[in-house]
């Protein structure tokens, strides 16, 4: 277990505080540099389709997934690279999927918006906003029925608050005391529209209306996210039912890589402030240094190591072959 991502989801019972947060740091840097490579590969026209970057939101995926076991389930979104990496996916097979190669997690058939990985409990990223809320709740239903003590985490953006199916399954989850955590990543923008223009009432009020345990947290602070996630996951695992966690965060890039001119929906000043004052990697780095767990040279070494991993993952993916065309009709039916 030497790569940045394959260490995920191990039991952290024995890890010291220092080891735990250095791990989290490496995880967040991995996601950031993965997305940098995506941006690079995409703008070089090597990547077909769409790319929705997770940069800026790393503390949410890492804080949550570090509270999970490898056999716990997640469902992800169109902005899902961070969730996949944080749950333990390897960057080379992820990049292969992004480029439509056979070595990808889905043999190239899913692409960026549909990465799924049974080995890490990843039920799949979903390109329908709110599309996976049923799947995550169903995984929790199965976990309870089969008494496996697994927990399911449903990641979605605040845009999914507009989808009725979310409220249908939250009602079911609370009625049936299901071990599911609804994680609302509030990056404030439904695509190109500020969420306050689309969202009546409060976000947490939606959960409390069902009697669901609800909390909000600074989504730029991985330690805060992890602390509350650990409590909610433990609660769900011990049979006390679902929870809803609002993580306030920020999407550094546009809705997708091509969304360059954003002034009509948010200011450059706002973007600058989040990036400089509240960057999740900087926030954790500062804490690590203050605690004496690392110095800036050590953290730079982490970044350099991760960069090598990501560059070699891209090289692997570019060199990997496409699937044979006869693959097209395989896996329509099991």
């Amino acid at each position: 277990m030497t790569t940045a991502t394959s260490e995920n989801n191990l039991s952290h019972e024995t890890a010291t505080e220092k080891e735990k947060w250095l791990r989290a740091y490496r995880q967040m840097v991995s996601i950031r540099l993965f997305e940098e490579q995506v941006n690079e590969v995409y703008t070089r026209a090597l990547m077909p389709g769409l790319a929705h970057l997770y940069s800026g939101e790393e503390a949410v995926a890492v804080g949550i997934c570090e509270s999970l076991r490898i056999d716990d389930y997640i469902t992800s979104t169109h902005r899902g690279h961070g969730h996949c990496l944080a749950k333990g996916a390897s960057p080379d097979r992820m990049f292969a999927e992004l480029l439509g190669k056979e070595a990808g997690y889905c043999r190239g058939k899913g692409g960026s918006m549909h990465i799924a990985d049974p080995a890490t409990g990843n039920l799949g990223a979903n390109a329908i906003v709110g599309g996976s809320v049923g799947i995550a709740t169903g995984a929790a239903f199965a976990a309870k029925t089969l008494a496996t003590d697994r927990v399911a985490v449903c990641f979605f953006g605040e845009g999914a608050l507009g989808q009725g199916s979310l409220y249908e399954v939250m009602n079911l989850a609370q009625l049936w005391t299901l071990p599911v955590i609804y994680v609302c990543e509030n990056n404030m923008y439904n695509e190109y529209t500020h969420y306050q223009e689309t969202t009546a009432g409060t976000i947490l009020g939606r959960a409390t209306a069902f009697g669901i345990e609800a909390a909000s947290v600074d989504g730029q602070d991985v330690r805060a996210v992890n602390e509350v996630a650990t409590r909610l996951v433990k609660r769900a695992r011990s049979g006390d039912g679902p929870a809803f966690l609002q993580c306030d965060t920020y999407r550094y890039s546009g809705h997708h890589v091509g969304d360059i001119n954003r002034e009509y929906y948010r200011s450059k000043q706002e973007e600058h402030q989040w990036k400089t004052d509240r960057d999740p990697i900087v926030v954790l780095a500062k804490w690590l240094i203050d605690r004496g767990y690392a110095d800036s040279a050590a953290l730079d070494r982490v970044t350099a190591e991760v960069r090598v991993t990501m560059e070699s993952a891209v090289k692997f993916a570019i060199a990997a072959p496409y699937p044979n065309v006869d693959e097209v009709e395989k896996h329509v039916y099991a």
Binding site: H114, I135, S165, E168, L172, V332
Partner: protein, 328 residues
């Protein structure tokens, strides 16, 4: 000993009960499936035998509990979802079309969705436009789904058991008017493979390809035609996907005349597809264009004489077949 007879509803219930005894992962999820046993009483007694953990009443949330079934199927259960009226499948469309149908393919074969959706079809119950449609064509259009249309109690039991054992999402449409239809049903544990058509009646002069509710109509018309000296073959595809093209084409080649009957809308519908398959496969053996008969292209009206005019009947099928075989 005479063959045991069951109603269509009893055959469905027996298939479910047998599969639930055989496999503890099979569970039923839907509105009023437990104590009520559904408004059609198809599930009566299952709660008592299998308990509330496996016969699960839900709120009126078709999209929500269908989505739950998709996720549960991916992670170890084999849910059978009950959608009370086929009209309500509209509420489940994203879960079935974008999620259930695609999870296996999009994941490169990693995830499987072994679930069944049981629902209904059919007009003439005076239930008006939102409780009377036959919308099985919609799911038949989607790669990744299988669609089953049983027409007899025997087929209902054998096909439902296959559907539950299938590794894919299967939609099982039951004709509401057929629940009280009786027919022989063996007590054995038998299955009927999905994708194998059945010749319900052999004949030489004309083929009536009929699905679900229309099979009984076709058989009635065939008796009327016999009195006119016209020998009609009735072929029931039993599943719209997978589709047994060979039996349809072989029958068309043999008789040279075909009417395709299905209670869904004809335009862009099941009859359109079946007619195209037959036209492509048997063109040089046909003596007449393939004729399609289905629901009129109108919302199903409430008023009884209006509603009755929307679906093919034994008389209208007889008239069409006689005209095709003996042009005036």
């Amino acid at each position: 000993m005479p063959e045991r007879e069951l109603t269509f509803a009893q055959a469905v219930r027996e298939a479910l009960a047998e599969e639930m005894r055989r496999d503890s992962r099979v569970c039923i999820i839907g509105e009023d499936v437990a104590e009520a046993g559904t408004p059609f009483k198809v599930l009566s007694g299952l709660l008592e035998e299998f308990g509330a953990k496996r016969v699960v009443d839900t709120p009126i949330s078709e999209a929500g509990f269908t989505g739950v079934a998709v996720g549960a199927a991916m992670t170890g259960l084999r849910p059978v979802v009950d959608i009370m009226f086929g009209d309500f499948i509209t509420l489940t469309m994203d879960q079935m079309v974008n999620q259930a149908a695609k999870a296996h393919y999009m994941s490169g074969g990693h995830w499987r969705v072994p679930m069944v959706m049981r629902t209904t079809l059919g007009a003439t119950r005076r239930s008006a436009a939102q409780h009377s449609q036959s919308l099985h064509a919609w799911f038949s259009h989607v790669p990744g789904l299988k669609v089953v249309l049983p027409s007899t109690p025997y087929d209902a039991k054998g096909l439902l058991k296959s559907a539950i054992r299938d590794e894919n999402p299967v939609v099982f449409f039951e004709d509401k008017m057929m629940y009280k239809l009786k027919g022989p049903v063996p007590e054995d544990d038998y299955t009927i493979p999905l994708g194998v058509a059945d010749v319900k009646r052999a004949g030489d002069d004309i083929t009536l390809v009929a699905t679900s509710s229309m099979v009984q109509v076709a058989l009635g018309a065939a008796i009327m035609l016999e009195k006119e000296g016209i020998s009609a073959e009735v072929v029931d595809p039993r599943t719209t996907w997978p589709l047994d093209e060979k039996i349809l084409i072989d029958s068309a080649k043999k008789t040279s005349r075909v009417i395709v009957l299905d209670e869904g809308y004809g335009r862009y519908g099941v009859t359109a597809e079946l007619a195209a398959v037959i036209a492509e496969g048997a063109f040089y053996d046909l003596d007449a264009p393939v004729k399609r008969m289905g629901a009129m292209h109108v919302p199903i009206p409430f008023s009884p004489p209006l509603e009755d005019a929307t679906v093919p009947t034994e008389q209208t099928v007889f008239d069409a077949a006689r005209l095709m075989c003996k042009p005036a």
